[in-house]
Subunit: 377 residues, 2 copies
C-alpha cells in the first residue's frame, strides 16, 4: 500500500493575536482540503499534533475539539512528542494508511504560543526536557548553547559559521510570504544582535510563533500527488547528560538509516532538505547526522552556498524554524508541505529546479525524538 | 493479521506518594514483560498514554522519557485523549500491529495525580472540557451532575439507583488487592456521604489516583494469549451544550456499532464488561449506549445484580473507576488487562465463570472521545 500527499495548507506563521487555536485549525484544514479537492466527509481518520495547549490554555482533548469544529465523529488522535509532534502525526497517519484500515487521513499540526508572556513559554518549553534539566534552571537555548560550545571546541568552527546558516534561512524566508520573518539579514546585523545563551545570539534562535499546517494523506493517487516513501521515528534519552556525544543526535542517525532503507534510495538521490534548525547549530548537526556532510563539515553547506535554493543541496527553503517560524507542532507538517510544494513546482521565487526527492528531519527536545520523512515524485 | 495480548501488569492504584511517574512506568513495564515472558529488546514500538504530566509536572515528551528509562531507541509515541488516553494507546498499538509493520507493541498508561492539591487537579481535569465550560466555572463533577439531573428527570430514576452501582463497584474492589478502595460500602454510608455536585455525592465520583498499567500486544500467539477482535475510536463535540441529547454518548454508540461489526460478534456473545464509571451515572448510560440495556433501563444491571461477578453480565469486576481508582490514562489499559485476566481465569475471588468474550468501553471528557475494545479467547 503506497501513501501519497494530495494537498495541504500552511497558515501564516507569526504573532497572530487575532487568531485562536480553533481559528488556526479551521483555516488550515479548510484550505488543505480545498487544495486537495477533498470533502471532509470523506476523511476517515485525523491525527493532530500539538505540544503546549495543555499548559498555555489548560486545553487537552484536542481530538474532541476538532470533532466539534467540523461536526464529525470519526477517529481523531492527538499525538505529542515535543517539537517533533507534527512529524510524529505525519508518521502515524502514514502508518495507519499502510495498514490499509483507512484510505484517507488528515494531519494537523497546530500551536498557539504568543498569547502569554515569553517567560512562561520558556518554562513550558522546558517540558520537552528532563526534570533534572528543569531543576538546574537551564533554558532550551541554554541546552543548545552547551551543544554549540562543545561543537565549537571539538570541530573548530565559530559563530561565523552559525551566521551563514541564519543568513541563508532569512534569505529563504524573504522569498516566503507565509514566513514569520520575511526579510534578509546581514552579517553585521547578526554580529550586533544580543546574546541569548553564549555562544548563541538572537539570530541563532528560532522564535515563538503561532501557526498551523494541515496535509491530506491518501492511499489513492491523483494529479500532483507526491508519495511518502519512508517515515521513521527514533528516540533517545530525554536528558543531554545521558548521551555519549552531545555533538550528534543518535535518534536522527537511526531514523535516517531506517528511512533510507525503507525508501530504497541513496543520499545522492535527494534533491532538497527541510531540517530542524531550532538553533543554527542544530542545522549543521542535522546535515551530518543525516549523512550528507562528514562530521565537523556541516558548516560547509551554508558557507559554500550549497544550501541555497539554487545550490547543490538546498536546505530549509521555507526559511526553516529560524525564519519561517516555529509554531511547534505545525513545524513537522510544514516541512513536509514545503517538500510537497517544491516537488510540485509551486514554490514561486524560491523554487528548487527539478526537485523530485525531498527529506524532512524534525526533532523533539534536544534529540530525544527524531522523525525522518522522505517524499518522492 | 491478528492481534493478541500476551501479558500485562497493573500497579496498585491509589495515593502512591512514595512513587514517581518514572517509578510507575518502570514497575508496570518490568512486570508486564515478565508476565508475557518477553524481553524489552524485542519490543518494536511503544505507545504511552498520559493526560496530565504536562500540567502537573511541566513534563511533556514522555516518549523520550521512556527511551531514557529503558535505554532504548525504538519508536515511542505518546497519545492523549483526556480520560480515554489509555485505550486510545491500546487502539493505536492494535492498529499498527494490524499494519504488519511491527509484530510486538508495548502499551503503557500512566498518571501521577496526588502530588498537588486537589483544587489544582480539578482545574486541570477541566482541560478535557471546552473553553466555554471552563469559563463558566463548572467542574467535571458539575458536568456529570447536569447529565444525571436530566437523566433523573427523563427516566425517573433517583440516587437510589446510582447507589446500586457504587455499592457493586465497591464490592468488586473489595475483592481486588490492586484497587484504591478495597472495601465494601453500605447504602447507609452512600446516603450519608457529602454532596459533591447535586445530585452526585462522594460515592458517585471516581477518585484522584496514581497508577500505571502496561500490556504487551503481539501478532504472535502464545499460551494465555487473548485476541483483540475489535478496537474502535469515535469522537463527538467537546462541549456538552453542542449535543442533541446529554443522556447518551453518541461516541460510545458509534464505537460500539463499529467494534461489534469488526469483531463479528453479537451482544449476547459478550460475557463481561469494563465500562467508564467516572461517575455512577456514566455506568448506567454506558450500558445503554453499548446496547446491553434499553434506554432508561441501565439501572437494572446493578439493581438486579446482573452486574456482579457472579451475575448474568458482570460489569467492572475490577471495581471500576469508582473503586479500583482512576489514574486517568492507566484506566483504559487496566480495563483491557482486567478482561485479559478474567478470560485467563486468573482473577481470584472475583473470577467470572467461563469468561470468554469481554468488552471495554472508555471515554474522554463527557464523551468527546469513546473507545471500545473487544477481547476474545
Amino acid at each position: 500500500m503506497k501513501v501519497y500527499i494530495k494537498g495541504g495548507y500552511q497558515t501564516k506563521f507569526g504573532e497572530l493575536w487575532d487568531k485562536s487555536l480553533e481559528d488556526l485549525i479551521f483555516e488550515s484544514v479548510k484550505f488543505a482540503l480545498k487544495d486537495a479537492n477533498f470533502d471532509i466527509k470523506n476523511v476517515e481518520v485525523i491525527y493532530i499534533g500539538n505540544m503546549l495547549a495543555s499548559q498555555i490554555y489548560n486545553q487537552n482533548h484536542l481530538n474532541s475539539l476538532v470533532s466539534e469544529i467540523f461536526n464529525i465523529n470519526i477517529p481523531i488522535i492527538r499525538v505529542e512528542s515535543a517539537c517533533a509532534s507534527g512529524s510524529v502525526a505525519v508518521n502515524q497517519a502514514y502508518t495507519v494508511l499502510k495498514s490499509n484500515l483507512y484510505k484517507n487521513a488528515l494531519v494537523i499540526g497546530v500551536e498557539k504560543m504568543t498569547d502569554i508572556p515569553s517567560k512562561k513559554i520558556s518554562k513550558f518549553l522546558m517540558s520537552a526536557a528532563s526534570s533534572s534539566e528543569r531543576l538546574s534552571g537551564i533554558t532550551f537555548a541554554g541546552l543548545y548553547a552547551l551543544i554549540a560550545s562543545k561543537y565549537f571546541s571539538d570541530y573548530k568552527i565559530t559563530s561565523r559559521q552559525l551566521a551563514d546558516v541564519s543568513i541563508k534561512n532569512h534569505f529563504h524566508a524573504s522569498l516566503n510570504e507565509k514566513s514569520q520573518f520575511p526579510f534578509k539579514i546581514t552579517l553585521d546585523k547578526y554580529n550586533n544582535s544580543p546574546i541569548i545563551a553564549s555562544p548563541l545570539n538572537l539570530f541563532d534562535c528560532s522564535p515563538i510563533s503561532d501557526g498551523a499546517c494541515t496535509i491530506l494523506l491518501s492511499s489513492e493517487k491523483q494529479k500532483n500527488s507526491v508519495e511518502i516513501v519512508a517515515s521513521k521515528v527514533a528516540t533517545d534519552s530525554i536528558s543531554l547528560d545521558k548521551r555519549e556525544n552531545i555533538c550528534e543526535f543518535k535518534s536522527t542517525k537511526i531514523a535516517a538509516l531506517n528511512s533510507f532503507k525503507e525508501a530504497g534510495i541513496e543520499r545522492k538521490d535527494v534533491d532538497l532538505l527541510e531540517v530542524h534548525d531550532c538553533f543554527t547549530i542544530a542545522e549543521i548537526i542535522a546535515l551530518e547526522d543525516l549523512g550528507f556532510y562528514k562530521k565537523g563539515e556541516g558548516y560547509r553547506s551554508s558557507k559554500e552556498k550549497d544550501s541555497y535554493y539554487y545550490g547543490k543541496l538546498p536546505v530549509n527553503t521555507s526559511g526553516g524554524l529560524k525564519a519561517c517560524g516555529h509554531p511547534i507542532a505545525a513545524t513537522g507538517v510544514k516541512q513536509v508541505l514545503e517538500l510537497f510544494n517544491q516537488i510540485n513546482g509551486r514554490s514561486g521565487k524560491r523554487q528548487v529546479k527539478n526537485a523530485k526527492v525531498g527529506l524532512a528531519q524534525n526533532i523533539g527536545g534536544t534529540g530525544g525524538t527524531a522523525v525522518v520523512n522522505i517524499l518522492k515524485k
